[in-house]
């Protein structure tokens, strides 16, 4: 059977300590790999402000897993059941990725979309300083 890529985003409560957060993430990581899933990528956004409060909390730890698994296996069901049982999980979203999404995520992982910091190049900065000086002289 063909393998499919899945993506799973969870929001964990902000009241967790560093260790509890790591434990929770570890347990889900094990759940994925233990059920025939192959972890491709994971991302932690850290404490992020949410657009609206969930369970009276305005921030949350965002954790993203991307994994490949057999299509039709029960891994997603098991994962979501575990999310629902876990009170630390405020929200979850699991998606099947289509081919365009897989290409996009591949590029994203390689840093193709990271915004290049717009810092003035030394020449421009110098030019600015020099113009300022000129103005002062005038």
């Amino acid at each position: 059977m063909a393998k499919t890529n899945y993506e799973s985003v969870i929001i964990l409560t902000p009241v967790l300590s560093e260790k509890m957060l790591q434990d929770a993430v570890d347990s889900y990581r094990k759940l994925i790999t233990g059920n025939g899933g192959e972890l491709i990528h994971e991302e932690n956004w850290g404490l992020t402000k949410m657009a609206y409060p969930i369970q009276k909390k305005t921030t949350g730890f965002y954790q993203i897993f991307e994994f490949a698994a057999e299509e039709g296996s029960e891994i997603v069901d098991k994962l979501e059941l575990a999310y629902r049982r876990d009170e630390q999980v405020l929200r979850y979203l699991t998606l099947k990725l289509d081919k365009h999404a897989m290409v996009y995520n591949e590029r994203r992982r390689n840093g193709a979309f990271k915004k290049a910091k717009v810092e003035p190049t030394p020449e421009v900065a110098k030019a600015k300083v020099s113009t300022k000086l000129d103005e002062e002289e005038e």
Binding site: V9, A51, I54, G60, L93, A101
Partner: protein, 86 residues
């Protein structure tokens, strides 16, 4: 009088630049729901989806925007309702 008013209503049509679909033009195939900033041009100040006739998006990509915005709302990256978000 009647002649004058009818003249007034038959103004020459305003010439606007032709709208285009920005996804088709730049070759974007997938719209990422995790990137809230990217979705901002397609919603109004209240967080509602803007119609196609304003953004010029083609139907195919408008549908993808709609799902992406809904997913972003679910994981609290965009609000369901807002007063002033921009």
């Amino acid at each position: 009088m009647a002649k004058k008013s009818s003249y007034r209503f038959s103004k020459a049509p305003v010439v606007r630049p032709k709208k285009y679909c920005r996804f088709k033009k730049s070759g974007i195939k997938y719209i990422d729901y995790k990137n809230a900033d990217f979705l901002m041009p397609f919603i109004n100040e209240q967080g509602k989806l803007l119609p196609r006739r304003i953004t010029g998006t083609s139907l195919k990509y408008q549908r993808k925007i709609a799902t992406a915005v809904k997913r972003a709302r679910h994981i609290a990256l965009l609000p369901y309702v807002a007063d002033q978000m921009k």
